[in-house]
């Protein structure tokens, strides 16, 4: 086991874990990657296309190679970066994307065949024979592609969602972020400091720089303690701000329990929506590599990552380290590792005149041209001036400079701009309003510059908020320049990787150039560059620079690279927020739900509602038996149905009448107090919107009902009409859908039943005729509303009482009406009876139908300017001949099916000959056969004609006779008795 001295790991405790079934040990503070490296394991994965053996190149969330399946069973988490997975006792991880073992992956044959797999090769082949794509080629490709596996079991963990507000959000708790947070916190601002790591400090954790001549740890501890003690600061560790959205809103995910064996009773992760008046992006920078032949072997890493592993995790992936660099930063790695006692084979520097910072060989004017070592680096080939030589080493640190982590600043599509001094893209103008970028994320990479930039940004942000902030006293820190001389790749014959995970090499970029796929977006899409799980964090800029070199343009002319959310992958579980399974949507219960449940009702989802579908009784073995019984009991005695879900809107005010007259297509102004009228609303485009009843309770007081489905939209529409169209009218609206429990009481015995619950109210036909309404009391003083309306075609009422009495009223009605045959019925019987009566419902009012189609064309008044009336007179609407008809099978034993299309007998069945369709169908116990409603071309003139109802989808075709849609009591006599 290769552990160095020092580091931020807790050596007093040991954690056991397994990788690919083998047991290892690490310490708290380790990541899976650091612990594996400390155990001399550096082969951790396979690349996407060529299945090349890979180890980590980075020490953070930019890692493209070291991805594992973490955990087992339902918690198996594919594509987890070993470099950020915190070690816990019992951690289980497996390598992924391999056929066979990690060491002997059979798919590594792809590597041998790589000439055949050049960029975009699949666009040029696999086309013959055509059927082979789905049958042969694609299944092979699909099985070879993909990365990790899901368990296919439901995610067992809980997730949470929360909202935070602050004056200042600081993203990243490195030198810049901590300085910014401290400055703002001292000014009294509400500050959130979000850090993706489990420790605060950023690069300070990985460096040996001194702050005020002391190790950085001291300053970090002091700042952290001060921030933690301030009530106006919230420090969020393990929290990745993944997206910048509008108006200062950020998405962040806090990994609450990913560092624990299981979340226990808590949540795994929390999704935060953070609203910040100002933000400072201090996300640091990502080191870039320099492509050269075979630059992807385990043991080849970013030089800064080597430093992280050595200084923070006391781990080194080998015994003998070489460094390849084009800037001073690479030398630091040599210096730090040498200080830890690691042998330095040499620093290979592309620049001409550099000297060593310590006691190690330097090869100036040199590049790494190639490497050896199948499963891990063994040596590198160095070209130094004109000569080549091999250098034995098992670790190579590569340093090509640093790319600012500007991702969150480009989520609003602000284009990063190329900086010729820094040789990097920095955040451009027009970034997200309120955001300042500071520190290495802005190219201010030295510790001193980062601290100053962070604090200054905070001072400016505070000023913008009207707070006075002072620059804090910052420790003396290094302010070295990296002296970078850009080198974007080492020319040569072998494959030099640019995007490690997706196996995009310099050759692929060259080929893209040759094939004229030069615009950045073409380059990316043609080669899949930057499309891997790291979103090209270590690849995009380098690729752009290589393309620039090939086309002879500058990087700035070649293009820029923007980023989309999320900054790093975010689990779908947490984005789903936990409102899943039965909690996916709220469940609204009707007032009589408890009573119905006790009666054994079967419930059904109706939009957000759960409604009683039917009430089975002992001995009924099939739902149809129950429904038929409920229908017949209603038509012969009396049935009761909870219809609370229908929308109710109280309309009051001096101009209520005028308002409703403009809202409904049919005349409403003539409605008398104490009466109800059917009302049809059109949309402004002239098609039918919704129907319901309008009851005039007093001169200036109405209650209107809507369909269940449209209760919300119609109320919104009414408020729109009131506030936007006719604000001058004196009218007020309130939705009372949930205030009143409402029951349909229908059937010949309805009056007799209601007479038993009303308080001294004359229900006689004379006193309370069809379409009457009134306020009254029931059951000894309970406030109620009564409407004599019918959806079933029977003598019927709807009675409403305050919601909390709904359950009791339902029970009372059934109880006191037992001798009258009082029977509760559900939505199925309701549906059957309305089809029998020919009333339109959702299937007919589907937003595609006109008043004329519904047989209500003449109701649309031309004498007034109601919503939709003008547009209902467009030629296309007037020319529509399909109207609602009834349909009855010629052979009564045959079914009628909604969704079947109608054809003239003898016609072929095609789009061109289509005559209409069946909207609703049921078995009618009243008729004694199946019946249906449907829209039929010229239907009004085709009564008695036999047409064909074709349902080839289910292999059926039934001859049906066109009849009146009113199967029950077409004259309406029963309603009026």
């Amino acid at each position: 086991m290769t552990r160095l001295a020092g580091g931020l790991i807790d050596r007093t405790r040991t954690l056991s874990f397994t990788f690919d079934g083998r047991s290892y040990q690490g310490h708290p503070g380790d990541t899976l990657a650091s612990a594996l490296l400390a155990n001399d394991v550096r082969l951790m994965g396979r690349s996407f296309k060529y299945h090349r053996p890979r180890g980590p190149i980075a020490a953070g969330s930019e890692e493209p190679n070291a991805m594992v399946e973490l955990r087992r069973g339902a918690r198996q988490e594919p594509n987890t970066r070993a470099t950020v997975a915190e070690l816990y006792e019992g951690l289980e991880a497996s390598s992924q994307n391999r056929l066979g073992s990690l060491r002997f992956d059979l798919l590594a044959m792809n590597d041998l065949l790589s000439p055949f797999f050049a960029a975009g090769f699949y666009y040029k082949t696999f086309m013959w024979p055509r059927a082979f794509w789905e049958k042969l080629y694609e299944p092979i490709i699909r099985n070879a592609a993909g990365l990790g596996r899901l368990s296919m079991q439901a995610d067992p963990d809980a997730y949470d969602k929360g909202y935070l507000h602050c004056d200042l959000l600081v993203i990243g708790a490195g030198a810049a972020g901590l300085s910014a947070a401290l400055t703002a916190a001292r000014a009294g601002a509400q500050v959130i400091l979000a850090e993706e790591d489990f420790l605060l400090g950023g690069r300070l954790l990985a460096e040996t720089h001194l702050l005020d001549e002391a190790p950085a740890g001291g300053w970090l501890a002091k700042v952290e303690a001060e921030l933690a003690a301030l009530p106006n600061v919230r420090i969020m560790r393990r929290t990745t701000v993944f997206g910048t959205f509008d108006h200062g809103i950020f998405g962040a995910v806090e990994r609450v329990a990913d560092h624990l064996p299981t979340p226990g009773n808590g949540v795994r992760q929390t999704l935060w929506r953070i609203t910040a008046r100002r933000s400072i992006l201090a996300a640091g920078a990502t080191e870039r590599h320099i492509p050269f032949a075979n630059n992807d072997r385990p043991g080849i890493m970013l030089a800064g990552a080597l430093r992280s592993y050595a200084n923070r995790w006391a781990a080194c992936p080998g015994q003998k380290v070489a460094i390849f660099t084009n800037n001073d930063d690479g030398h630091r790695t040599a210096l730090d590792l040498a200080a830890k006692g690691v042998e330095i084979a040499g620093v290979i520097d592309t620049r001409g005149s550099v000297s060593a910072l310590g006691n190690y060989p330097v090869f100036v004017d040199s590049v790494v041209e190639n490497t050896r070592g199948r499963l891990g680096l063994k040596s590198v080939t160095v070209r130094s001036g004109a000569k080549n030589f091999d250098l034995d080493c098992d670790v190579l640190g590569v340093s090509g400079g640093w790319n600012p982590n500007l991702h969150l600043a480009s989520h609003h599509r602000a284009r990063p701009v190329w900086n010729d001094t820094l040789h990097a893209f920095v955040p451009g103008e027009n970034g997200p309003p309120g955001m300042t970028v500071a520190g290495a994320a802005m190219g201010q990479g030295s510790t001193a510059a980062a601290m100053t930039a962070g604090a200054s940004a905070a001072v400016a942000a505070m000023e913008g908020l009207g707070l006075r902030a002072a620059m804090p006293e910052l420790p003396r820190a290094e302010k070295a320049d990296a002296n970078l001389y850009p080198l974007w790749h080492v020319p040569g014959k072998g494959r030099a990787w640019v995007d490690f995970q997706n196996d995009v090499t310099v050759k692929d970029i060259r080929l893209a150039n040759q094939e004229n796929m030069r615009p950045v977006e073409h380059l990316k899409r043609w080669t899949t560059l930057g499309m891997a799980t790291d979103q090209g964090k270590t690849a995009n800029v380098t690729a752009l620079a290589v393309m620039a070199e090939l086309t002879g343009k500058s990087v700035a002319e070649t293009g820029t690279t923007m980023f989309r959310p999320p900054y790093t992958g975010v689990s779908l579980g947490v984005l789903g927020g936990g409102d899943t399974g039965p909690h996916f949507r709220p469940r609204r219960l009707t007032p009589s739900h408890v009573w119905a449940a006790e009666r054994g009702a079967v419930f059904i989802e109706v939009g957000p509602w759960m409604r009683a579908q039917y009430f089975p009784q002992a001995g009924e073995t099939e739902w149809r038996q129950t429904v038929d019984r409920e229908v017949l009991a209603t038509r012969q005695g009396v049935g009761i149905c909870d219809v609370t879900t229908l929308g109710k809107v109280d309309v009051q005010g001096r101009d209520a009448t005028l308002f409703l007259d403009r809202l409904y297509a049919n005349a409403m102004a003539s409605l008398k107090v104490g009466m109800v009228r059917y009302g049809l609303m059109l949309r402004e485009d002239g098609l039918a919107y919704d129907d319901g009843t309008c009851a005039r309770l007093a001169e200036d007081e109405y209650v209107v009902t809507t369909t269940t489905a449209q209760a919300g939209p119609v109320f919104r529409h009414m408020e729109y009409a009131r506030q936007c169209l006719w604000p001058e009218l004196d009218v007020q609206l309130v939705s009372t859908t949930e205030a009143w429990a409402q029951f349909a009481v229908a059937g010949p015995n309805a009056r007799a039943l209601l007479q038993r619950v009303v308080d001294n109210f004359d229900l006689s036909n004379e006193a309370f005729p069809f379409m009457a309404c009134a306020g009254l009391t029931v059951c000894g003083g309970l406030r109620a509303r009564l409407f004599r309306i019918s959806f079933s075609g029977e003598l019927a009422y709807e009675i409403a009482v305050p919601s909390r009495y709904g359950n009791a009223l339902m029970a009372r009605l059934v109880e006191v009406g037992s001798d009258l045959g009082a029977t509760p019925y559900g939505t199925e019987a309701l549906g059957v009876m309305r089809i029998e009566k020919g009333h339109a419902a959702g299937n007919e009012l589907n937003g595609q139908t006109t008043a004329q189609m519904l047989g209500m064309g003449r109701m649309v008044s031309a004498k007034k300017d109601a919503i939709g009336s003008v547009m209902s007179r467009r030629e296309g609407l007037l020319a529509e001949t399909r109207v609602l008809v009834g349909l009855q099978p010629v052979d009564p034993a045959l079914p009628v099916v909604a969704g079947a299309h109608l054809f003239t007998e003898g016609d072929g069945h095609s789009t061109a000959t289509d005559q209409g369709w069946i909207t609703s169908a049921c078995y009618s116990p009243h008729v004694g056969s199946a019946i249906g409603l449907g829209f039929l071309a010229n239907g009004a003139m085709r009564m008695g004609e036999v047409v064909v109802a074709a349902n080839p989808l289910q292999g059926g075709e039934v001859r049906v006779r066109v009849v009146s849609p009113h199967f029950v009591d077409p004259d309406g006599g029963r309603l009026r008795v």
């Binding site: 082949t125 004229n516 959310p565 989802e605 485009d685 299937n843 296309g876 369709w917």
Partner: protein, 416 residues
């Protein structure tokens, strides 16, 4: 150069020296017979068919950015012909038939993959509506199957059957539906058009139209004036602001639709699945990413990016339907600007300006229409008569009352 497996092998063995540019980078000529504005999928397809099928010459495609940078570059890749209304269904079925021979025709593997689409059913009313739709599909010559709950469960046992707020009651299946590699489609058409002599001109933004006496004369561009006998505009997402330069107001709003892709995963779902009780649809790309989406953000936008509420809503739907995806990660979310028309259906028609033609209003369904849209638009440009399957996509249908409103939502674009 013809692409083939043989060619790939030959080039692999000879160092890939023989690959040619997929298309030229021509400078614009002073005049063309046909100028197509917009080098997205529909524009490229239009040029392709104009040149190859209708045998027209002197054609240019003007693209303000890079070829394929329209919504063909940022969609969820679904192809299907499962519409319900007679104004739509024959057109989309025509498109499906074109998809079925497309790659062989333009000699480019666009990975058209007919792995099927399954629209899940959660209520009885939804089953009725899908039955109506499925039958309409069959009558138009397409394929459709109505599956019951058990069949769906056999096919996708990992859907949430036992713990769902809205139980799955069945599904409408179209097996010929599937996905295609969106960029590949753009490139296939571009290459095919270029080979037929079409000038594909990138970084050429149309800044105005020259109209004289009610007739188009040419277009002003960022690369100078280009004369044209006929101009076809196919710039979904930017339609209003381009056509405004010709003095037209349109029944279109621009809205942002977000789309999502997860990190790569080994194969888990076969085809396309749509949730019927929430806004969520999903497929898995050949590379392994779950490609999914849901509702538009719902407000007018040209910003190509959306906001958190819809991200959460879509993924909530995904988790409710497929709770096994919780451990997968979202890799990327992006926004595209949709031409949301007033009835949810497209426009392929002449305009009041003679010689100026419009292809627009695809809402978020334009990708699957790419072949038929290009073909029909080329037909219109070449013959001045609408293609039979696209004859309902008229600009005056709103005024005349012949809207094609699949969802029945009326004149409110964000509800379609």
């Amino acid at each position: 150069m013809r692409f083939s497996g043989f060619r790939v092998i030959k080039e692999a063995l000879t160092g890939h020296k023989g690959w040619q540019p997929l298309w030229r980078n021509p400078d614009p000529k002073p005049a063309y017979d046909y100028v197509i504005v917009g080098g997205g999928g529909h524009g490229l397809a239009t040029a392709y068919y104009l040149a190859n099928t209708f045998r027209k010459a002197r054609i240019a495609v003007l693209e303000k950015g890079w070829l394929g940078s329209g919504n063909i570059g940022r969609n969820t890749t679904i192809i299907r012909s499962n519409y319900g209304l007679p104004g739509n269904q024959p057109f989309y079925e025509f498109s499906m038939k074109l998809w079925e021979g497309l790659e062989q025709e333009f000699n480019f593997n666009a990975m058209v993959s007919q792995r099927g689409i399954l629209n899940l059913i959660h209520t009885d009313a939804q089953r009725d509506a899908y039955r109506r739709r499925g039958n309409a599909m069959l009558f138009s010559g397409a394929d459709a199957e109505l599956l019951d709950r058990d069949r769906v469960r056999d096919m996708c046992p990992w859907l949430n059957f036992d713990n769902a707020r809205f139980p799955i009651k069945g599904g409408l299946m179209q097996r010929r539906a599937g996905t295609a590699r969106h960029d590949g489609v753009a490139w296939g058409y571009a290459r095919g058009a270029d080979r037929a002599g079409v000038d594909l001109i990138q970084n050429c933004e149309v800044t105005g139209f020259r109209i004289e006496e009610g007739r188009i004369r040419g277009v002003e561009t960022s690369r100078g004036y280009i004369a044209a006998a006929k101009v076809g505009v196919a710039v979904a997402g930017s339609t209003s602001r381009v056509m405004e330069k010709a003095g037209l107001r349109l029944p279109i709003e621009s809205h942002v639709l977000q789309a999502f892709v997860s990190e790569g995963l080994k194969p888990l779902i076969p085809g396309v699945i749509t949730f019927g009780a929430g806004h969520f649809y999903v497929s898995q790309s050949d590379k392994g990413g779950l490609v999914f989406g849901g509702d538009i953000d719902g407000y007018n936008s040209y910003a190509q990016r959306g906001n958190m509420p819809v991200i959460e809503d879509v993924i909530e739907g995904g988790m409710a339907l497929m709770p096994m995806i919780g451990r997968a990660r979202l890799l990327r979310v992006w926004g595209g600007i949709m031409d949301m028309s007033m009835d949810g259906s497209p426009i392929i028609d002449r305009t009041p300006v003679e010689g100026l033609y419009l292809n627009a209003g695809w809402c978020y369904g334009g990708f699957k229409a790419t072949p038929a849209s290009g073909y029909s638009f080329a037909h219109l440009l070449a013959t001045d008569t609408p293609h039979e399957t696209a004859r309902h996509f008229r600009l005056d249908r709103f005024a005349r009352g012949h809207v094609i409103d699949e969802k029945g939502m009326g004149a409110q674009p964000n509800l379609h």
